[in-house]
Symmetry: C2
Subunit: 163 residues, 2 copies
């Protein structure tokens, strides 16, 4: 992988005013060289996933209009959908006020799913609110049916979830 440490499309961060009120892209990557990414469905607005990009992933996403991420578990550039076919076409890409987070609004190919477990969204479970329980909370499933069988799609590939 050729990592582009300082692609010319990114500007240096010179002042708080420039970062917040300016019109140049001056993203802040963390000490691991990553920036968090929020990916929503462009049509439904549903949150599909939360991931990370390095500079190369952000540059490729901008240039190709398809979502690229940095896989922290596999430690490699990750063209979303390369294995599953569930690519994410980027309809809009936004940056936040201090330019340390990215928002992708995407159209997902195929079944429209984005979660490796098989659900449409990675956020398929909700947490009960308002409880003052003195023990473990019980999650509720907001999606009840998987859209695909992960074993069929990913085979023996290692599961990205780490304890």
């Amino acid at each position: 992988m050729t990592e582009l440490k300082n692609p010319r499309i990114f500007s240096e961060r010179t002042s708080v005013v420039q970062v917040e009120e300016g019109d140049v892209l001056a993203p802040k990557f963390d000490t691991d060289g990553l920036i968090p990414v929020v990916t929503t469905d462009a049509r439904s607005g549903e949150l599909l996933m939360h991931g990370y990009m390095n500079a190369e992933a952000l540059q490729k996403t901008i240039e190709h209009g398809e979502a690229y991420y940095w896989s922290r578990s596999r430690k490699c550039l990750w063209h979303k959908g390369a294995t599953s076919g569930l690519t994410q076409k980027v309809v809009e890409l936004r940056i936040d006020d201090d330019q340390d987070a990215v928002w992708l609004r995407v159209d997902v190919a195929g079944s429209g799913a984005s979660c490796h477990v098989g659900y449409r969204s990675c956020f398929y479970r909700s947490v009960p609110l308002g409880t003052r329980a003195d023990g473990p909370l019980t999650l509720s499933y907001e999606e009840t049916e998987k859209t695909f069988d992960p074993e069929q799609v990913y085979g023996d590939a290692p599961n990205p979830t780490k304890l």
Copy 2:
């Protein structure tokens, strides 16, 4: 601040199947003790902000039904809206497949804004796609009017944006 390192509402992470397919809340905090949080407007679906929680912030958010975060710039628990009045009432709280990211769907009090710069969303600028420009990219403003004057609301408080 009393940090609750291991509140009883959180379960230990014992297996990938338990984390992904189980019904217990077993969140993963990073090496700084934080978990990223995606906050969307419950009505419009718009992405408002990307923040972080520590265990105490997550517990308080669940118990009180209002959003608490960990401020990385101020290094303190942060009850969103305590200064501005723009509190976030949590309509739904979700956790992702590997339980290392949180999604809050909120109703914002007052003007409905969530960005310290004065905009409704922190993600008020978009990045041009498909370009193969060999120089700095120019951002477009997707929100053109601020909903409040940050100086009036925050006064001399230090700006949380860091270079």
